[in-house]
Symmetry: C2
Subunit: 113 residues, 2 copies
Amino acid sequence: MISKNLTAASTKAIILGILKQGNSYGYLIIKKIKKMSGGKMEYSDGMLYPVLHRLEKDGLIQSNWTMSEDTRPRKYYEITEAGKQALLEEKEQWLQVNTVLEKLWNLKPDTNY
Amino acid sequence: MISKNLTAASTKAIILGILKQGNSYGYLIIKKIKKMSGGKMEYSDGMLYPVLHRLEKDGLIQSNWTMSEDTRPRKYYEITEAGKQALLEEKEQWLQVNTVLEKLWNLKPDTNY
DNA sequence: TCAATATACTTTGTAATTCTATGTATATAG
DNA sequence: CTATATACATAGAATTACAAAGTATATTGA
């Protein structure tokens, strides 16, 4: 299981990244994440839905209910332009921290930092 | 500036990683992180010291005061065996999330997740 | 000489956040 | 016909991070 902190730090980028692939809805997003992570990341609905609401409030995604005869009503989310921009920023920050960690993992002792 | 969440998610690995390089003390650790990140990550003392105390309480690091005639008293920290183990676990978790994010960043549209 | 800044560590309290738990409801599989 | 899966929502308990304030010494430079 992935730690709380790491989950929190990656949630925004993961959701935006998934929606950049194509529109989706809460329940399916949870399953996609589980599948993508090989079961290592598992969001409860109570964890995910509030995040979706916040992202929508912040204008990074937008929703619309779809009614179909085949399935139950679903609230589909779509990434906005602001959301795509936010995703780039998330990526940049992640890579920055990743760079620091890679230095530490690969470093020989007594490197001068 | 790196977001709060990302900072929180990486703090433990970064501190343990730095101490694996060699013993150090709070004030210096703050400066090392700043240097390693090119100024992007900047911990306040109020942020770092409580983390050091927690890591010590958890047995991942241990401290001893050093008195010197040249400098002021410093509390040096040293990583423990348990700390080295914890660092490996942190690394593994980070890489796991990193794998998911890389998939999302590189994915072509309509990949089946 | 003395003021400002850098070094060095500590802790309290609160502000913010998280997510567990609970609720609603329908569809389907066995 | 019931258990499970699908689908979304939210209140509030519980946690937690960290800004702010405190203590104290060393050094720089005006």
